[in-house]
């Protein structure tokens, strides 16, 4: 077993940022241990394969017609065959809904280990590579171990109250899903010579019939993916003020989330809820606006790199989980902040 597979997932006409991050960490690891990076594209993503030029040693394009549009049954079948054929030591996925349909089933079919929510991957003995790791350190320092060394993969458990690092033996197959922004897409040099291999072998048809698909606007797609998330809580009072969140998010090219209090009160949609019963986000910058910081909420954002909290109550728990705090009425602070951000970034 050698080499790493990266499952390259796109949103629309562009790969998810996680795809580039995972390809980078895979290059860093294979540079240190030998083996190749294989970028796997399937179905609708095959058309985007030229964007992967130089980022992997090989692009494996799965072209069977059953793979378009995405269906878990067909993807599991196609990926299982590809993974068995290539025998990589690890397959890296970006965390997300599609990964959560495919990865566990692949693990069951292949008898592999599967881990969700990962934030760091490195060669055993090497320094932390993950930008989102709690030991967030010198990106790009992965390396220094011999081929065949174990991989170490880290993830939060118990809502981020602890982190566990697992050791993946060199002869085992690991399937791992990484939260967005876990790695720096520039952590390892690109410029590889990329071979492209197309596989058209037939795959199982989907047993699940798609009746209707309703895709939201861009804002909807962005929450778990966005590098900046602006979340509103009870302090926002009501929907009449949500424009303030959207303005700041727009200025930062980020997405808007809502706390459970607002969702439960019927003021915001569950699809935008950040927290235990909603979405887990892991952005570079997280701005909590009038969010008290109940543990349910913290579980959904604690792996954010930089956290800003704005709350009128100086004893609000959210400040314990923040890097920067502003005590004040969020309805007054937000417009001022948006103005400053616009001035600073224009």
């Amino acid at each position: 077993m050698s080499g790493l597979y990266v499952i390259c997932e796109a949103r629309g006409e562009e790969f998810r940022p996680a795809t580039y991050e995972l390809l980078a960490v895979a290059r860093a690891i294979t540079a240190a241990t030998d083996g190749e990076v294989t970028a796997v594209v399937a179905g609708p993503e095959v058309a985007l394969k030229s964007k992967l030029e130089g980022l992997a040693h090989r692009v494996l394009a799965l072209t069977a017609p059953e793979l378009t549009p995405f269906s878990a049954d067909s993807w599991v079948d196609a990926l299982a065959t590809a993974i068995e054929a290539g025998s990589p030591r690890a397959v890296l996925f970006g965390e997300g809904g599609r990964t959560r349909e495919v990865m566990p089933r692949l693990a069951a079919r292949l008898g592999a280990w599967a881990l969700s929510n990962c934030v760091d991957l490195r060669v055993s003995g090497a320094a932390a590579a993950g930008a989102g790791s709690v030991e967030a350190g010198d990106s790009g320092a992965t390396g220094g171990a011999a081929d065949g060394a174990a991989l170490e993969v880290s993830r939060p458990v118990y809502g981020g109250k602890a982190y566990v690092t697992n050791l993946v033996p060199a002869d085992g197959l690991l399937l791992a899903a990484f939260r967005p922004h876990s790695f720096d897409a520039g952590m390892a040099p690109a410029g590889l010579t990329t071979a492209v291999e197309e596989v058209a072998a037939p795959v199982a048809a989907s047993r699940v019939e798609l009746v209707e698909r309703r895709e939201g606007g861009p804002r909807k797609a962005d929450l778990t993916e966005a590098a900046v998330v602006v979340t509103g809580g009870r302090g926002m009072k009501g929907p009449e003020n949500f424009g303030l969140l959207e303005d700041l998010a727009a200025a930062l090219e980020g997405a808007v989330g809502y706390s459970r209090a607002l969702v439960d009160a019927g003021l915001a949609e569950h699809a935008f809820q950040v927290g235990k019963s909603g979405k887990t986000v892991s952005p570079t910058l997280y701005i909590a606006c009038g969010v008290s910081g109940a543990i349910h909420h913290i579980m959904g954002m604690d792996t954010a790199k930089v956290v800003v909290a704005i709350n009128i109550d100086p004893t609000a728990p959210i400040f314990e989980y923040a890097d920067y705090g502003v005590v004040g009425d969020v309805l007054q602070v937000l417009p001022a902040l948006t103005e400053q951000v616009r001035a600073a970034t224009s």
Partner: protein, 254 residues
């Protein structure tokens, strides 16, 4: 119609979690209950019991625990609790848990299996779809709507960036997202039943389940707590200006 709900007992969100001195283990306070998303799954099953006369079973897999979650499911209205209780399930790999649950379900095949989207302890969301794969069932994750048709289920589910409606032939497995059903609060009669219920138990050997090896743990560590929060004083405009300066120059995220 037979509906099986997969239930997991998890520590309370508020439970204290401590890493033991040398980082070799975790101590988790023993305040446990039924997983948040499994409660929704239980409620969805109970709705089918009411609308379609479904017979409901809750299946769990655990090492020396799980009774609390089973009782909760019974208090809500599940008829039969079945617990795979085996020391080998302590810290077991997800695949072992999925194999145990699948084998338990196979004892009396179900028309529909409902699992929670994920458990609140590891938030991994692995076991449900694994069980579907092992049993060869079609699977739809993150269901927010469910209708039973003749031989099919029509599932509305959240996907990244939207929702979709899919039709699955029965038997099938779905995982419950928040919104699928609003879990009921058990009443006294259900609670009383749950206090007295005999929970049927089985183990891996009886089920003929082969454990998947456990992935070795290199270390546990507590969250490297963020440095103390830097509070920014002043009127909104001044505080906002200072915050932007810090985000640019110190945190370097703008």
């Amino acid at each position: 119609m037979r509906v099986v709900v997969l239930v997991k007992e998890v520590p309370d969100l508020e439970a204290a979690v401590k890493v033991t001195g040398d980082g070799s283990g975790l101590e988790v306070e023993k305040r446990r209950g039924l997983n948040f998303f499994d409660e929704i799954a239980v409620e969805a099953a109970l709705k089918l019991k009411e609308s379609h006369g479904a017979v409901t079973t809750a299946v769990g897999a655990s090492a020396g625990a799980g009774v609390e979650a089973m009782r909760r499911a019974v208090a809500m209205g599940i008829e039969t609790p079945l617990l795979v209780d085996d020391p080998a399930l302590d810290g077991a790999d997800s695949l072992t848990v999925a194999r145990a649950l699948a084998a338990a379900i196979a004892l009396e095949p179900a028309d529909l299996v409902i699992a929670g989207k994920q458990a609140t302890d590891d938030e991994a969301g692995l076991v449900g779809p694994m069980v579907a794969e092992i049993l060869g069932l079609p699977c739809a994750t993150r269901a927010i709507g469910l209708e039973v048709e003749d031989g099919f289920v029509l599932v509305t589910r959240e996907i990244d960036g939207g929702e979709e409606v899919v039709r699955l032939p029965l038997p099938a497995l779905i995982t419950a997202e928040k919104g699928l059903a609003e879990p009921r609060v058990p009443g006294m009669a259900g609670t009383m039943k749950a206090m007295k219920v005999q929970i049927e138990r089985t183990d891996l050997a009886t089920l003929g389940v082969q454990a998947h090896p456990v992935l070795p743990v290199a270390a546990y560590r507590t969250v490297g707590k963020r440095p103390p929060v830097k509070m920014i004083e002043g009127e909104p405009a001044d505080a906002a200006a200072e915050l932007v300066r810090l985000l640019r120059q110190e945190a370097k995220v703008l």
